[in-house]
């Protein structure tokens, strides 16, 4: 079971979180024209890297904040966590 540092609450067990997918995908702006290719990429296309990956988790049984987690998908090592408004290099 992973041990995830919520930027608001501190280290908590994985049990308290729910996984939210790739954090690097950006939704096209609302009320702006978007090509169907860009839209399809946003809705469907995801990289599934082996290794470092920035993903979203929600601290569902805690502060309910969505957070960013940089994790190695192969070893589960977590390098960094951040608020969604912060950048992870």
């Amino acid at each position: 079971m992973l041990y995830i540092k919520c930027p608001y609450c501190g280290f908590r067990a994985q049990k308290e979180f729910s996984y939210g997918g790739d954090a690097t995908v950006k939704r096209p702006n609302i009320n702006e024209e978007v090509s169907s290719e860009d839209w399809d990429n946003f809705v469907y296309m995801r990289k599934s890297p082996r290794g470092k990956h920035i993903e979203l988790w929600q601290h569902i049984a805690g502060c309910r904040q969505w957070i960013k987690v940089q994790r190695d998908t192969a070893t589960h090592e977590i390098f960094q966590t951040a608020k969604v408004t912060e950048e992870i290099r």
Partner: protein, 998 residues
């Protein structure tokens, strides 16, 4: 009752407390502190089971977790447990143990015929023989194998015991209380670290209890006791015996299995039997010690053959002799301690040492005590069937591949030592790549992977001095980094015997023309020849050899066999062991009970139960409940002998004719506040929200980004910047997360807050033509007329002294209202409604009637919004704005969503107007068509229309709207039904929606 093999004084057992137990029906005695094994050996009983494949007689081999043979069916404290390790299970009054895997008895086992047919059971036998014909598998092969492979029998009774889970955090977890573990825990505790020390056995101290050593002029045992006593007195230390750390998982989480009360004769009702600990440790000390490995020789599985250290442990811990005429067979010095212990107890051992004559402290001591030592000697084959009677021994030639002299000596036990294997399972589970250490012919942990530090014998340090130093240093350094405190501790003076070098010798050759079985893996009956066959047949990877021969795959995970198996493979393959590699270690280290894994999550505690504030009323009024997620909802209220069908029909009919009330507390409720709330709703819902006035509700539809309908519900504008959203019961949690996602990540610029208020409000729907009359009685001072409170209107009003919210919304399609009061007042509201509603014929209705009402109205719900439908599929395209952008809008333009023949919602009625159409039925043109019969759609919801008094269903069907008026078949292979149906509009009742506005 005498115990002929019990010594007079030795041991740590409590001789003042006799314990009676039975073995295979025979009544026996032992002492408090005995294991089943030590008590049986004290009584001279060695034959305890039959082997897995050949049903050969088997006895005890070890004295702890390493035991491969002595797995018993044990009944105690009212339950029956299979595969109990007799060397670990403590004796408890009234316990009854029986042998497994034998029939009719352990002394006469019919399956032993396999032993004489062993040429037919080589490695891979099952794979080769039972492959074909396929039809034989279920009827003949499988039952045969199951019977032959029978381990113990699991109880079919309900487990009445209590099991617990516990979550714990610590700075340092120490796994094992031998010298290095005690030292680590002590040093860390002195630095102020939060320490957990776990010991698998009942007694702390590990090898200190059995080794002839002294520390600071105390015996090993006394020193251990002193340290443990001090540790127990420290508030920052938790000391646990009977607790095995069996798994090392991600992010330094370890799992421990505590045997809380199996050894107790009496316990309180609330004492759990076993407890599972999830321990998140900052640092972990792995002081799991080492396990002695045997030397392989002929018939080495005969009862009476022990690991040498086990024989010593039986003497020193339990005061029990494993035999009175021992042969000690060794390639190293440690077995000499066993020989000296025998000698001390006036038993004359013979030592067979595979090494050429040499000198060391221990050897010299044995010589000086007059012990018969034979160098360059080994056991070729043990004689005796159910117990060792003698052994054929041989003097090895220089190359140790043949014999210079062979003779037979009498003996009643053989204590064998092939040197020591560090217990590296936890290190390996942590992800540590092990490395082969030539010096000890075994694997030890390599570079750290997580926060694991192996110390002492587990790290290949086999001297006490080194182990203690190792422990103190690592315990101190690791904890100092956490606590920023470093307390100097003097490393104690140690007195131990120096060992000579061990012999790299692990398998006795066989004399010409002799071919007794030489077992490598006792528990799975894998012999030297099985491994040879696997290699001859081309298996090369050690993982493949393991699976083909089943070497190391039994419940003991090859603790005494893995390395010997590896040596054998590497010898035959002419490789060195590190090239062959080792197989993977997996948790749990030893078998643990399913009950412990499950913990308290059984029965009612399996998941939380959510009850509405009106639950008790429902219960008292014969509600039959249905699970809606964690909620309990009344499905129907049973009157007399009514069936579900009759009751739901009555309830639904009453709503259509009079008035009914329904508990709708379970609907998801979300409070939305902020100046941008309207803009937010406008983006979340498909329809327009900017112009909803205060005091009005609106039906809303939300999509996922891929255009699929996510949820629907009404949202009401309570005040300028305050909205009350409702969701379906099932989607409540998902919708909240969905809203939070957009507010926190996608549009953080919107000034909006959302919070779940599902539990804060109790809700009741009042539905039916007489609902307004009833409402006016509930609110005598309020104008409830159609003009004042129209469809989709909202009012706040006093409900008999309680603040309430009135929403004029309808799911049933009737004139209807929903009243919300604070949860605390839910019961009051409900009872008041029942009282006031009497004169209007009010009756409560459950979810079954609710479904009937919505289905015949053509209102969609979960079965239609099944994660595959877009708004136009379910006739909700009227709610999709063409003017504004919203979540999922761009996806609605996708080509596949806009083809003419796309699935659409329709209604179905049976041609005979009688046959109910099973939900999930497939719609086909021709019920007799050849398979696969083209499927045109499926039936999503079915009911008995109370309005038209015949069955009615909703279906999602290809090109649906153009099919109206046509006839098809609804086929349910599951129910074995085929019903001819006609396609009609999905709005079967009141298609213009007049009633809700009336």
């Amino acid at each position: 009752m005498s115990q002929p093999f019990r010594l007079n004084k030795e041991g740590l057992i409590n001789r003042n407390k006799k314990i009676s137990f039975t073995f295979n029906g025979k009544k026996l005695f032992g002492y408090e502190g005995d294991t089943i094994a030590s008590a049986l050996i004290a009584n001279g009983i060695h034959l305890v089971g039959r082997s897995f494949k050949y049903h050969r007689p088997r006895g005890f081999f070890g004295a702890g977790v390493e035991e491969p043979n002595a797995k018993l069916q044990v009944e105690f404290n009212g339950h029956s447990e299979p595969n109990v390790n007799a060397t670990e299970m403590e004796l408890v009054e009234g316990l009854s143990a029986t042998s497994q895997n034998c029939w009719p008895s352990v002394n006469f086992d019919i399956g032993a015929i396999n032993n004489f047919l062993k040429m037919f059971f080589p490695a891979g036998f099952y794979y080769k023989t039972f492959m074909w014909p396929k039809s034989f598998w279920y009827k003949i092969y499988e039952p045969f194998i199951r019977k032959a492979a029978g381990l113990g029998v699991a109880s079919i009774e309900k487990d009445k015991e209590r099991y617990e889970h516990k979550f714990e955090y610590c700075d340092l977890l120490v796994t094992g209380s031998g010298p290095s573990g005690l030292a680590s825990a002590y040093a860390a505790a002195k630095n102020g670290a939060k320490v957990i020390l776990a010991e698998d056995k009942p007694r702390f101290g590990g090898t200190l209890l059995t080794d002839d050593v002294s520390i600071d002029n105390l015996s090993g045992k006394d020193w251990a006791e002193k340290i443990i006593t001090e540790l127990k007195s420290m508030p920052n230390v938790t000391v646990k015996n009977r607790s095995q750390v069996f798994g090392y998982y991600d992010h330094n989480m370890l799992v421990m299995f505590e045997r809380v009360s199996d050894h107790l004769e009496k316990k309180s009702k609330f004492t759990p039997r076993q407890r599972l600990w999830y321990i998140r440790a900052k640092e972990t000390i792995l002081s799991t010690g080492s396990i002695e490995r045997p030397i392989v020789f002929g018939n080495n599985d005969t009862p009476g053959i022990f690991l040498s250290a086990a024989a010593k442990e039986y003497m020193k811990v339990y005061g029990v002799l494993v035999g009175k005429k021992p042969l000690i067979f060794t390639n190293n010095d440690s077995a000499y301690e066993t020989a000296l212990e025998f000698k001390k107890n006036n038993v004359e051992p013979i030592i067979l040492d595979t090494r050429e004559e040499l000198s060391s402290e221990l050897i010299d001591e044995a010589k000086s005590k007059g012990i018969d030592i034979r160098f360059s000697h080994g056991v070729i084959v043990a004689n005796g069937y159910k117990k060792v009677k003698s052994a054929k021994i041989g003097k090895l030639n220089k190359d140790k591949n043949s014999f210079e002299k062979i003779e037979t000596v009498d003996c009643d036990c053989i204590c064998v030592s092939g040197f020591w294997t560090p217990s590296v399972h936890l290190a390996s589970q942590s992800g540590n790549k092990l490395k082969y250490e030539e010096r000890i012919d075994a694997f030890i942990p390599d570079k750290k992977k997580q926060h694991e530090t192996s110390v002492g014998a587990a790290n290949g340090s086999f001297t006490l001095e080194e182990s203690l130093k190792n422990g103190f240093e690592n315990g101190s350094n690791l904890s100092a980094k956490i606590t920023d405190t470093k307390t100097e501790i003097a490393i104690p003076n140690v007195n131990e015997k120096k060992y000579g070098a061990h012999d790299k010798f692990w398998c006795m050759p066989l004399p010409k023309n002799e071919n007794p079985k030489r077992f490598v893996d006792f528990q799975n009956d894998v012999s030297v020849s099985d491994i040879e066959i696997a290699l001859r047949e081309g298996y090369r990877s050690i993982e493949h050899v393991k699976r083909y021969t089943t070497l190391g795959m039994a419940t003991d995970q090859g603790r005494t066999s893995n390395l010997n198996g590896l040596q054998l493979v590497s010898n035959i393959e002419n490789k060195i062991v590190p090239e062959v590699g080792h197989t993977t270690f997996r948790p749990p280290f030893t078998p643990i009970t399913i009950g412990t894994i499950v913990g308290r999550e059984v029965g009612m505690e399996y998941m939380p139960t959510r009850k509405t504030p009106m639950h008790e009323w429902h219960e008292k009024n014969n509600a039959v409940f249905v699970d809606a997620g964690a909620w309990k909802r009344p499905r129907y209220y049973k009157q007399g002998n009514e069936t579900l069908f009759e009751a739901s029909k009555r309830e639904a009919k009453n709503v259509r004719e009079n008035v009914g009330i329904c508990d709708v507390t379970t609907l998801g409720k979300i409070d939305i506040k902020g100046p941008d709330a309207a803009e937010f709703l406008n983006r979340v819902y498909t329809n327009a929200w900017m112009k909803l006035p205060v005091g009005k509700a609106r039906y809303g539809l939300m999509l996922r980004e891929d255009g699929i309908v996510m949820d629907d519900g009404t949202t009401t504008r309570i005040s300028e910047n305050h909205y009350h959203m409702t969701t379906t019961t099932a989607q409540a949690a998902n919708v909240l997360s969905h809203l939070e996602y957009y507010l926190q990540i996608v549009w953080p610029e919107l000034n909006v807050n959302v919070v779940s208020t599902t539990e804060q409000w109790a809700g009741a729907a009042i539905a039916g033509p007489k609902s307004r009359d009833m409402l006016s009685k509930l609110y005598p001072d309020l104008d409830v007329s159609n003009d004042s409170l129209p469809f989709m209107g909202y009012k706040e009003a006093d409900f008999f002294g309680v603040p309430s919210r009135i929403f004029r919304i309808s799911f049933s399609g009737e004139l209807a209202y929903e009243i919300n009061v604070k949860s605390d007042h839910g019961m009051f509201m409900w009872e008041k409604m029942m009282e006031v509603g009497k004169e209007f014929g009010n009756q409560p209705y459950g979810t079954e009637a609710l479904s009937t009402l919505r289905i015949e109205m053509g209102h969609v719900a979960g079965p239609e919004l099944d994660g595959r439908t877009i708004p136009s599929d379910v006739s909700l395209n009227g709610l999709v704005s063409k003017k504004k952008d919203f979540i999922g809008k761009n996806s609605l333009g996708r080509e596949a969503f806009n083809v003419e023949s796309r699935q659409k919602i329709v209604g179905l009625i049976p041609i005979d107007r009688k046959s109910s159409i099973p939900e999930g039925s497939h719609i086909v043109q021709d019920q007799n068509a050849k398979l696969p019969n083209p499927k045109l759609g499926h039936v999503s919801s079915s009911c008995w229309s109370v309005e038209n008094n015949n069955p009615f269903s909703l279906a999602i069907m290809k090109d649906g709207k153009n099919m109206i008026g046509k006839k098809f078949f609804a086929v349910s292979p599951l129910k074995n039904k085929s019903i001819e149906v006609e396609v009609i509009s999905s709005h079967y009742v009141d298609p213009e929606g007049k009633r809700v506005r009336s």
